[in-house]
């Protein structure tokens, strides 16, 4: 690990807590936010933690947190600052684009202006839209090497090795630095924002920059509840119910 100061950018997102009861807003296309709890995207926590650990190991550097969102996203940035990030930037817009590419363009522009970076980190997905795309798109726009869904990361002088889960195994990937990495569960154990950190976060710099993302190439037509599963039934009790279960699976459900 180099001893020079590390400049690490982490892109984070304010998302609805997955425990949220999902109600569809009157426009039929978005989440009704009444009573919804918003949190820092859990996969982004791995990214923030990784940045903090790398900076701590290097002994010097800066961890900058970026988010794209409405004014309330400042709170999310402050959560990352409370964990230990040094400063934050909010690209403020009331309309978070449905097209991940538009988000990527805005983030890439800001990252370019604020670079160069030793590492740019993302969570692998956001738990609201499950789009899986902004991280690698930003890498493409910045022409940086990128590894997605890294569950393990080793960095040495100018190079890195990552491990990512694929079907039936683990892929070992090598890449040069600087790079964009999207974090998966298992990369590290994110720290809780210590209470002192929460107090210190208030005093750390947080720049708010209004932006106007383009319309993009993805248009939301509707948001609907998932198809109702037909009501199930208890087939029986104990091992004695097994023959009946198999009969039903064979004849009724036709899956055997």
């Amino acid at each position: 690990m180099r001893n020079a100061a590390l400049r690490i950018a982490v892109c984070i997102k304010r998302v609805a807590d997955s425990e949220t009861r999902v109600r569809i807003a009157a426009d039929g296309r978005s989440l009704d936010e009444a009573g919804v709890k918003f949190i820092l995207n859990p996969y982004d926590e791995f990214a923030v933690e990784e940045a903090l650990q790398r900076k701590e190991k290097a002994g010097a550097g800066e961890v900058v947190v970026l988010a794209l969102g409405g004014p309330a996203a400042q709170e999310t940035i402050r959560t990352a600052l409370a964990m230990g990030a040094d400063r934050g930037i909010l690209l403020q817009t009331d309309r978070v684009p449905a097209d991940g590419l538009e988000t990527a363009k805005a983030l890439a522009a800001e990252l370019k202006a604020g670079g160069p970076w030793d590492l740019v980190l993302f969570g692998k997905i956001a738990i609201d839209d499950y789009n899986h795309q902004v991280g690698p798109m930003v890498a493409e726009l910045l022409d940086l090497p990128c590894v997605t869904a890294a569950a393990h990361l080793d960095l040495a002088d100018g190079n890195g090795t990552a491990e990512r889960e694929i079907e039936g195994g683990v892929e070992v990937v090598e890449f040069p630095l600087p790079a964009v990495i999207t974090a998966d569960k298992g990369l590290n154990e994110p720290r809780y924002p210590a209470l002192k950190g929460i107090m210190a976060a208030k005093k750390k710099p947080l720049e708010v920059k209004p932006i106007s993302p383009g319309a993009g190439g993805v248009e939301v037509l509707a948001m609907t509840p998932p198809p109702e599963r037909k009501e199930g039934r208890i087939v029986g009790e104990g091992a004695g119910a097994v023959p009946e279960l198999l009969r039903i699976l064979r004849e009724e459900a036709k899956v055997l």
């Binding site: 402050r78 210590a194 002192k196």
Partner: protein
């Protein structure tokens, strides 16, 4: 695996909290869900305090959280401090007792009555959990009447010698230092009470855990015996002066307990609601029967009232105008309703409610101690009675 606690906030108190207060509450809430709840049932049954949680609690900054940053503390306001106690006790009253003692009954007296050297020497180490303390006020024969204590401290050439016994002391057997309150003058003279920082490895000092507890089982409660314990001159808390001093510490702790009790009530209510929706009897969830709905409505009402009491009490404390009598009202009410909520939850849970894998009965048993300690319910009744009428009905 239990789902994460979502809180109980019928009157939108969240919206009145500041961002930091919410962030503090959320951090402790998450920590309790991840670290305390998975192990507390087991520890309670075994009668073991989960010592292994101390470093984690210290790292978060839970000890003396409302004391100033210059001593290594978080420097939070009192509403945030209260929210910490609320979330800890949502986990377990015994664990919250640990934090209350460390913060309000050990670090606070050092902060309020200690010399600059004492503050610098002890506070940072107590904040980091390296030094655990306990508060020695109550005695075997002097509970509700601490002024009658018979532990004495006689001045000697190079310090003090202490003799006496204390009982029902939380953290007694784990502590490295004890804040011992003793009379330096005649036994009739409450004004001669002073505080002393006594290292628990001092010759003549012994601590023994009290066995056979059916409440606060995940907490260490000890008897302390001081037999010719010699301490140097600088062991005294120089600004401590009479019974007033330990009572000021108790006011700090009671403030936290008023919030803590709400946490326990919230935990029980949440368990009751969840159970009432999932438990099906006579063809429908039991939450659909009138008697259970009445239970739940009562619980929610009392919790909501208690939450609003806490919030205003916290704002008064932050404004510097809070009185001990205001704390008495909140502690008395909130612990009382919490015991009711716990009991009713236990009943709603039916047979399952007697198992350690559910929270209600553990909270119910714990809250009986909380009802009695830090000023019994009845004592606080008389505090209010005297405040209202001006007439002392204590004796």
């Amino acid at each position: 695996m239990a789902a994460k606690f979502q809180g109980v906030d019928f009157y939108g108190v969240d919206g009145v909290l500041s961002e930091e207060e919410r962030a503090v509450r959320d951090t402790v809430r998450a920590w309790v869900d991840d670290n305390l709840l998975p192990i507390i049932g087991e520890h309670y049954v075994q009668g073991k305090f989960p010592k292994q949680l101390i470093p984690g609690m210290a790292e978060l900054g839970l000890f003396g959280a409302n004391l100033p940053e210059q001593y290594g503390c978080a420097g939070l306001n009192n509403v945030a401090y209260g929210l910490i106690m609320q979330e800890l006790e949502r986990g377990d009253s015994g664990v919250r007792s640990f934090a209350s003692v460390q913060g309000a009954l050990v670090m606070y007296p050092v902060f309020a009555f200690g010399s600059d050297e004492q503050k610098k020497r002890w506070l940072p180490e107590m904040a980091s959990g390296k030094v655990i303390g306990c508060f020695g006020l109550t005695e075997p024969d002097y509970g509700s009447n601490p002024g009658g204590m018979i532990t004495v401290a006689k001045e000697t050439k190079d310090g003090w010698v202490l003799n006496g016994a204390k009982m029902w002391i939380t953290n007694g057997s784990t502590a490295q230092v004890a804040v011992i309150w003793a009379k330096t003058g005649a036994l009739e003279d409450q004004n001669s009470i002073r505080g002393f920082l006594v290292p628990t490895d001092a010759k003549g000092f012994s601590a023994k855990d009290q066995k056979g507890k059916l409440s606060l089982r995940a907490s260490d409660t000890s008897e302390l015996v001081l037999q010719d314990v010699r301490v140097p001159k600088d062991a005294i808390l120089p600004k401590s002066a009479g019974l007033k001093s330990p009572l000021m510490c108790l006011t700090q702790a009671r403030y936290g307990i008023a919030w803590g009790a709400v946490g326990a009530a919230m935990a029980c209510y949440d368990e009751a609601v969840s159970y009432s929706k999932n438990r099906v009897m006579f063809g429908k969830p039991i939450g659909g029967f009138q008697l259970q709905q009445a239970r739940l409505a009562e619980m929610l009402t009392e919790i909501t009232k208690a939450q609003l009491l806490c919030l205003q009490l916290g704002r008064l404390k932050d404004a510097g105008t809070m009185t001990p009598q205001q704390v008495s009202l909140a502690k008395r009410n909130n612990v009382s309703i919490a015991t009711d909520v716990a009991r009713e939850t236990r009943r709603l849970l039916g047979a399952n409610g007697i198992l350690a894998e559910y929270q209600a009965m553990r909270h119910l048993a714990n809250l009986e101690s909380v009802y009695t300690y830090e000023g019994t319910h009845d004592i606080h009744t008389l505090v209010l009675g005297q405040e209202i009428t001006g007439i002392n009905a204590f004796n």
